[in-house]
């Protein structure tokens, strides 16, 4: 290797573990996050095996309950929430705005170790015997009735929350203070906008989660009533506080994905993103309105009818900016010059699956329909469409798109295209039947189910096998490319944006000369292919 890059600037393990280079920290995060994805995926595999037959014949009821709980906890807090921000965001945000690093590199490293600490708690929870409350920790079950390791699990989530807060804080400050000359707000790539908006949501919502978990711990340890009605508390209050965090959290998971997809589509369509400013406003609107819809998780909880109606209305309103984004991505293709490398296939897959996930969100936002659909597999299908079909596809699309930049290697294009397509098919086979199951009345979190649901469950489990293969494949060919892949040029996709102006992989301090930004982003033109 001739060129100096952040990858060979210090090769000892120690130089990696105490690094403050945002690019190296991004790589540390991506390794940890991938590991947790497979932990969560292993639990999912087990769930789908159990559900292949109506009887509970593979694992016991208690074990099943622990499986979906750990699946939810790991996938949400240890995989999807940190996924794009701490890996792609960490790596790219400073480069995209022309900075040498994040504003607080040590805080960034701390964020990683806090994540690991939280992860250790979670793994200990599993080893000790698991937790069976569901990822939602509903009281009074979680505080007074569960005989599992609720405190350990809550501690893990509590801790990892600080990792989110620190990363968010770091991004906010970096975007405000470290932009290169000429990088005005409306010249920032949409990915940066998405990270910025996500960060604000993380910083404002996560403390509430921390507090709620602390209150659960107090009630459980001291037996002092806060949420348990037997002790004068109100379990609905818990739900309000939990969803006050967890609904914004779903936008923490999808906004970064939208940012990634915007970058990819504009690049492979060779066209300026359609309606840049509207895209920015939409990101902001989702962030803001997202804080006001939490009650849509509680339409049958016993909250008053009027709150239900207000939350229903706001949930429809929050869907409008998402609609704008879908339309704008589509319009970006118009008169483009489109090619279909793997990142683009992932991105198009995202649009389609997010669309279905989002539209079914509207079924749930319609309070009267939700009364029938809530707590069934319809909800499970809804959120997997957005989170797995949407956000995970986008994450993988982003990993592929920036892989040459990050590693300096090219992966095998054909394998990548195939596994993206396979993922799309496997995904639909896994989760589409669940919409039907939900409408037919199969409740979620069920270890056993009525015989009449078996056919659809078998389809879903079969799909999960394909999906698993499609997730293992990138692990194989991407790892292979690390050792055998062709060397990547600085700008393999002929993309625009500051990150493509530096070498692949970038030098330690990103830019030899501080860049200046003369004009708006995405100066693509279809004729120039």
């Amino acid at each position: 290797m001739s060129e100096r890059s952040f990858l060979n600037d210090g090769v000892t393990l120690r130089s990696w573990l105490i690094t403050r280079d945002h690019k190296r920290i991004a790589i540390l995060f991506s390794i940890a996050i991938t590991a947790f994805f497979f932990v969560g995926g292993l639990a999912a595999t087990w769930i789908r095996i159990e559900l292949a037959t109506p009887k509970g014949d593979v694992v016991s009821a208690d074990t099943y309950n622990k499986l979906f709980t750990i699946h939810g906890i790991v996938m949400v807090w240890f995989f999807l929430i940190p996924s794009i921000p701490t890996t792609l965001g960490n790596f790219l945000l400073p480069i995209m705005i022309g900075a040498r690093d994040l504003a607080f590199p040590r805080l960034n490293l701390a964020s990683f170790y806090i994540y690991i600490l939280g992860g250790i708690f979670t793994l200990i929870t599993v080893i000790a015997g698991g937790v069976d409350t569901g990822w939602t920790f509903y009281t009074p079950y979680s505080t007074m009735f569960s005989n599992s390791y609720v405190l350990l699990a809550a501690a893990g989530v509590f801790i990892v929350g600080f990792s989110s807060i620190f990363t968010g804080l770091n991004f906010i400050v970096t975007v405000h203070t470290m932009r290169a000359p000429g990088m005005k707000w409306f010249r920032m790539p949409l990915f940066v906008w998405a990270m910025y908006s996500t960060s604000i949501v993380m910083v404002l919502a996560t403390p509430v989660l921390a507090m709620v978990l602390a209150l659960i711990a107090i009630e459980r340890i001291a037996g002092i009533g806060i949420f348990d009605p037997a002790l004068g508390g109100d379990p609905i209050l818990f739900q309000h506080l939990f969803w006050f965090y967890s609904h914004p959290a779903v936008y923490i998971m999808v906004l970064p994905a939208m940012g990634v997809v915007s970058e990819i589509i504009t690049c492979f369509a060779r066209k300026k993103i359609f309606g840049y400013k509207f895209m920015v406003y939409a990101i902001a609107a989702i962030g803001v309105i997202g804080f006001m819809v939490w009650g849509h998780h509680m339409f049958v909880s016993g909250q008053s009818m009027y709150s239900g109606l207000v939350f229903s209305l706001l949930s429809f309103l929050v869907a409008v900016p998402s609609a704008i984004k879908v339309f704008n991505w589509t319009a970006t293709l118009y008169k483009g010059s489109i090619s279909f490398e793997a990142p683009m296939i992932y991105a198009l897959g995202f649009v389609g699956l997010f669309l279905i996930g989002g539209l079914t969100g509207l079924f749930l936002a319609a309070a009267a329909v939700d009364v029938h659909l809530t707590q069934t597999y319809f909800v499970v299908a809804h959120f997997h469409y957005i989170m797995v079909g949407g956000a995970v596809m986008a994450y993988l699309g982003g990993i592929h798109y920036w892989w040459p930049k990050i590693t300096g290697r090219l992966y095998h294009e054909r394998s990548a295209q195939l596994s993206a397509a396979l993922m799309f098919c496997g995904f639909n086979l896994t989760f589409f039947p669940q919409f039907l199951l939900g409408y037919l009345g199969m409740p979620r979190r069920y270890h056993e189910y009525a015989d009449r649901f078996q056919m659809l469950n078998v389809l879903s489990s079969a799909g999960a096998v394909i999906l698993a293969l499609a997730y293992v494949a990138p692990l194989v060919y991407l790892t292979w490319s690390l050792f055998r892949g062709e060397r990547a040029p600085a700008n393999p996709w002929h993309a625009k944006g500051l990150e493509w102006t530096v070498s692949s992989p970038p030098p330690t301090h990103n830019f030899a000369h501080p860049p200046t930004v003369p004009d708006e982003p995405y100066s693509y033109s279809p004729e120039s292919r």
Partner: protein, 223 residues
């Protein structure tokens, strides 16, 4: 489940209350709307992808040119549609929440992992709820331990059942029959077994049934 012959391939769910067809009406409207939106958007995506694929000879002049403010349209159209759906659903939601006067009340207590039922006449039963047809019925429910939820798919209705307070669910059944009932709020080990059946019977039958002393061995009413 004992009530229907099953081969794992049954894609229908009966509809047995006055509200159920209304909910289905909105549900299928949403299905139609979503299908339309999905097909339209996917069609546009595919069309553009084919027509403007790299190397095609399609006309790309003025690709970034000014055009009418199309964003306004695609803010307005979804917004209007969404508001219509909202109002429609709000009306139904209000109906679900407002029982008429003079309901027949049945008391239900959920506990890990069973449903205990007490009728106005004093007759009790477990994991089975007999209800009269054609008159408004209100279930007054509470829990002895954690949160449960009372769900009858054929009724298109569900309500959380909380400890320390009462929640209510009202309906007017329209079709005699035996319908599955499940607990849908996660409540611990046997959450998935906390089910039962709802038996809808003509009102006179119900009254006769409710007045009876429960037989020593409860015989299953067959439909």
């Amino acid at each position: 489940m004992n009530e229907t012959a099953t081969n794992g391939f049954d894609f229908s769910v009966p509809s047995a209350t006055t509200i159920a067809p209304s909910i289905d009406g909105l549900f299928y409207t949403l299905v139609a709307l979503s299908a339309f939106a999905t097909i339209a958007i996917v069609a546009a995506l595919v069309y553009f992808c084919v027509k403007y694929r790299a190397g095609s000879s399609a006309d790309r002049s003025d690709a970034h040119g000014a055009r009418l403010n199309i964003e306004d349209i695609w803010i307005a159209v979804p917004l209007v549609l969404f508001l219509i759906v909202f109002v429609w659903s709000a009306v139904l939601y209000a109906r679900i929440f407002t029982p008429p006067p003079n309901t027949t009340d049945i008391f239900i207590v959920g506990k890990q992992w069973m449903w205990k039922v007490q009728h106005g006449s004093g007759r009790q039963e477990i994991n089975e709820v007999h209800v009269p047809m054609g008159v408004p019925v209100r279930l007054v429910m509470t829990s002895q331990d954690v949160i449960h939820a009372f769900f009858v798919p054929a009724f298109r209705l569900k309500q959380d059942v909380l400890p320390g307070r009462y929640t209510a669910l009202w309906f007017q059944a329209t079709k005699a029959g035996v319908y599955p009932l499940s607990c849908t709020e996660y409540c611990g080990t046997d959450h998935s077994r906390m089910g039962g059946t709802v038996v809808v019977m003509p009102q006179e039958d119900y009254e006769r049934w409710a007045a009876q002393k429960p037989p020593a061995v409860e015989e299953k009413p067959h439909s």
